[in-house]
Symmetry: C2
Subunit: 290 residues, 2 copies
Amino acid sequence: VAPRLSKILGADVAIASETFQHTGSFKFRAAYNVALNVPQREIIAASSGNFGQGLAYACQLLGKDCTVVMPDSSAKVKIDAIREYGGRVDLINIRHISRADRVTRLINESPEAYRASAYDDPLVIEGNSTLGEELAALDKKFDYILVPIGGGGLASGLVEGFTRSGYAAKVVGAEPQMANDAARSLRAGRLLENQGEPRTIADGARTVSLGQHNWEILKEGLAGIVEVSEDQIAEGVRLLYRYANLKAEPTGALSIGALLAMATQFRGKSVCCIVTGGNVDAEIYKRLLE
Amino acid sequence: VAPRLSKILGADVAIASETFQHTGSFKFRAAYNVALNVPQREIIAASSGNFGQGLAYACQLLGKDCTVVMPDSSAKVKIDAIREYGGRVDLINIRHISRADRVTRLINESPEAYRASAYDDPLVIEGNSTLGEELAALDKKFDYILVPIGGGGLASGLVEGFTRSGYAAKVVGAEPQMANDAARSLRAGRLLENQGEPRTIADGARTVSLGQHNWEILKEGLAGIVEVSEDQIAEGVRLLYRYANLKAEPTGALSIGALLAMATQFRGKSVCCIVTGGNVDAEIYKRLLE
């Protein structure tokens, strides 16, 4: 519970932070469940961010091998982190080959390997559903759960976990306005894509569209999606810094940004804001604190 | 537990964070215990930092009044925070009157009020001892507990809590080299003072000396004190940012700085680093992240 944030945001706000999860984001839940349950000893995935770290650490714990395809322009701290967790990093020039094509090529070279998706996989959704079960087990009951949405892996996991637990909280997605494929999909009733990779500061939500498995769950399971401006994302990072002592990455602060964007909708309600991760380069973080 | 920090620091490191305590630091434990147990309805204290916030919030919860004496040069966020928690802020020009003298004058004007100390008070030590009891109740047992030391309120509380719980971990203080009155006192066997208020970046440790009550406990109860350089304090803040996603104030990072300062002493040992608080101005934090 966050009394000062609650006063500022006009709602009864609690924060569920995944920034202290293994590898610093919720993605470890999914990655571990994948690595544990697939029979393959080798796993290949494209990820420039948190899924790669989660997968590398999960494979290290389980004694499996993993290769993470990343653009050669990725931040050095992210490359280092994956290597530190024992993962193999495969750097590509994305002007010459797309991440998906590179993964396909690696799978063709190692047909016994598992091709992992960061969101579009029932094992990912099942892994993330553990957060839903944990929230459902709390004494405190919420009117709304606000969750950052990119590929939809966590949102669909929450819906699944809540359904299984008989918990009736409304799940609302928090999506960057600049990458609003999920909001448009929900309005249109069919899965739509962004044109190219959106340049939102919320780098965990730069996905082209929701995954198929995620969409099947979310098209009925979501109570709505709030579109969050870049300024509101940045303000969310600052509010968490100042009033909750919480270091959040921009994607993680989407849920606070959604409260800023739709203050009247949530006024006086009890809202759980999920902060999905805390891995943000110091340079970017310093700029956000200005 | 912090696997990446452990690898870097060469010890089995766990972090006990008080940055998510009410008002963002351990001081709330002490302040609440004081406000709860003194019969007075009004409490007066000098504090430019965390004790003032903790006291203001404790008094708000308990329906008491409090006045916090602060230099008029204090950061606006700190003044605002105390007011937000319902405290009265008494701003002074410290070139004209000392904080202690101003508190004395206020007490003379309101003789029915309680004069609270941030550290030198058995009720403060008792309040802080709850952290010792919580650590003693963990399954995990530590060789060392590293605790930032200023006036000695938390360190003496830990010793008291551990003694009561029959927990034999060694308590080691982490003190700024620039404000090493406690280390010198321990060596000399008598209570020594700093000359004036030290300008260490660890603003929670700018006390002139340990309190009398604290010294009585610490002269026998501490296993040692590590003196930490300003650079090591700053590096502690950065390591917590990068490898633990933890926003710590400089004083809070003293315990990590102590591991850097005395790496060989702690190599291979299980060490619990207490991070005492997270309230740091964005301007200072940005500079520390450079």
